[in-house]
């Protein structure tokens, strides 16, 4: 992948849309590709499985090495902390989006019908989340004025870390139960399948 | 301003009126176009512009009442209204008192039960101030509410009255209102059954005299009722002409 590292500032003309595809860090305006962030210009040869259009155009993008702050988009996988719960929804402070930290926590809610894929109306919020749990979830919509809508329907989504009433961290023993190793008390949660 | 100067020996007051004479009233409905109902009301040199919106969705839904409409009054005084220009702060108690009086008066008059979970906004602008502020605000608000087509038990007409040298006087102007010796009574009535919607009085008046001062004020209210009726008829005729031709 030939990449002569040239540093570009935003608004620099990089190439024509006929010759290159515009990748992240660039934008297109009447037929020209411009850089939209301060970084190094990179050209990437077309990978095999790009879309099947006839000519394989290399992708042109601008790369920045320091942390780039992410914002939740539909479909991104997030890590968040449960702040409050009420019978209809749990409000979550989103801290990480697709393994990139957020500048500040975004607000999201998991509605009770988005907790589990099966028997949606038998789900009880009290047996799924507790304030303070850390959960992994997926953004299903940009939601309303204040918060994004999240869902934990997939198996690898749900509670990844929780503290028991006695205050020690618990271990998931089934998809809906976690156990406190010290006091052996079992609490009900919607657990995420541990990723080995 | 001692008592003598307020009434001259031959019974004329500071601005040349008789004891039981109202100031010149001219009023007109639907003066603003974007408001649901509006009115411009002038009594002597006191000029008030009122806009009425509603019944519409309240801005923050927690205030909406289940079974009746809430009335929201905002009263602000134009900086150029008084003789020396003074910008009043939002929390000025006199300002808040007048808007709470107007609000409570119309809570009794408007049939709020018909418009549940809604809000009726009354925005009052005092363009010029020459005494009788509360009185003109109530009359102007009545005209604007009727213009907005909001269902009310009856008109609410307000008038002020005072008492100098054993004679009750009607419709006090700024000079008479601000002199301490003159008792200043504001009464608002529902003209049909004569019931009292609002009654405010300041500084001393002997209990025996209350009867005839009130009567004079009620007389004034009836006269104002006729004026308001005319204004509504004029507005209605305008509308009728526009629609018919």
């Amino acid at each position: 992948m030939s990449s002569e590292s040239v540093i570009v500032t935003p608004g620099r003309r990089l190439g024509l849309t006929q010759e290159y595809e515009s990748g992240p860090g660039t934008y297109v305006r009447n037929g020209m590709i411009y850089s939209s962030i301060l970084g190094t210009k990179k050209i990437e040869q077309a990978l095999a499985e790009t879309s099947d259009d006839s000519i394989k155009r290399p992708m042109l993008f601008v790369e920045r090495q320091n942390t780039k702050f992410a914002i939740p988009v539909i479909g991104s996988e997030i890590l968040g902390r449960v702040v409050r719960i009420n019978p209809r929804a749990a409000s979550v402070a989103i801290m990480m989006v697709d393994s990139a930290p957020c500048q500040e926590d975004f607000q999201g809610i998991v509605r009770v019908q988005d907790i589990r894929a099966t028997e949606k109306d038998l789900v009880q919020m009290i047996n799924s989340f507790r304030p303070g749990d850390i959960i992994r979830a997926e953004v299903i919509s940009l939601g309303d004025q204040r918060s994004y809508f999240l869902a934990t329907t997939k198996n690898e989504h749900g509670v990844v870390f929780a503290q028991s009433e006695a205050g020690n961290s618990m271990i998931p023993i089934s998809w809906e139960e976690m156990q406190d190793p010290k006091t052996q008390t079992i609490e009900k949660r919607k657990c995420a399948k541990p990723v080995t | 301003m001692s008592r003598q100067e307020l009434i001259s020996p031959e019974g004329l007051r500071v601005d040349g009126r008789r004891a039981n004479e109202l100031r010149r009233i001219s009023c007109r409905a639907s003066v603003l176009n974007s408001a649901d109902g509006s009115a411009y009301y002038e009594q002597g040199n006191t000029k008030v512009l009122v806009a009425v919106y509603g019944p519409r969705e309240p801005r923050n839904r927690s205030l909406a009442q289940q079974d009746h409409a809430t009335i929201n009054v905002e009263f602000n005084i134009a900086p150029f209204s008084t003789s020396e220009r003074r910008k009043r702060s939002k929390g000025d108690k006199r300002l808040l008192e007048i808007s709470s009086f107007v609000k409570q008066t119309f809570e009794g008059a408007i049939q709020t039960a018909i418009y549940p979970r809604s809000q009726i906004d009354i925005y009052i602008h005092l363009l010029q101030h020459d005494g009788g502020t509360l009185e003109t605000c109530i009359n102007a608000a009545t005209l604007a509410l009727v213009d907005a087509g909001i269902s009310m038990m009856d008109y609410v007409c307000a008038c002020t009255a005072g008492f100098i040298d054993e004679t009750p006087i009607l419709d006090l102007n700024f000079v008479e209102e601000s002199s301490i010796e003159v008792p200043n009574l504001t009464v608002a009535i529902m003209p049909r059954n004569g019931n009292i919607a609002l009654l405010q009085m300041e500084s001393k008046l002997h209990s025996s005299k209350l009867e005839d001062v009130m009567e004079l004020a009620v007389e004034g209210c009836k006269h104002i009722h006729r004026k308001l009726d005319q204004a509504v008829l004029v507005a209605a005729k305008d509308l009728a002409d526009k629609l018919s031709n």
Partner: protein, 233 residues
Amino acid sequence: MAETKVVLPGDIIDTSLDSDEEESSVLRLGPGVAQIDEQVSAVAAGVLHSDNEKKQWWVVSNKRRYVPAEGEPVVGVVVARHGEGYRVDIGSAQGALLPLLAFEGATKRNKPNLAVGTVVYARVAVANSVMDPEIECYNSHTGKSEGYGELAGGFMFKCSLGLARRLIDSKAPVLNALGSGIPFEVAVGLNGRVWINTEAPATTVLIANAIKNSEFLDAKQCRQMVKELLEKQ
């Protein structure tokens, strides 16, 4: 019943009473008592009660703000109606939720229709520190109303939680004394609200005042006070 002992917050309670000696017996701590680093101590000021057999300890304190606990009967006022239930004010920190289906014989089609401001007698169904409390107007196991439901007519007044608890435990002499004189219905909520209903308003007022005054009288004075009120009426 162990002799009554007044405790203050922070007093250590020695639980090793003359009960049998197995040390590892499990103690059940009720309201007002907590285990603070290996010792059982009182956290509320009031009279200490203990029930030897089941090793229960609790403190009865005369507070006015009600903290919901499961199974306790309460008298609440409907404040608002939401999609899936009523929000009922029972004097606790958060308003309680009364689901539409929590009534005897309520089904998806015929749901009870309570206006805002109605008074209900209900049982606390769910009460935990994390979520708003939930109440129900029937016994969820048997499905019967067992006296719970809407309270129509009569009058309701507020009193301290201690008095309400004593009225419910049918230890209160004032209710028996009044009962012998005048027929009346009463519903006592542990959240410090009492509902009274008789035919004439005058008698309701008399009973309400009698109950309120009886808080600090002992049994004999209570009976005396009730007798005087009945003659005066």
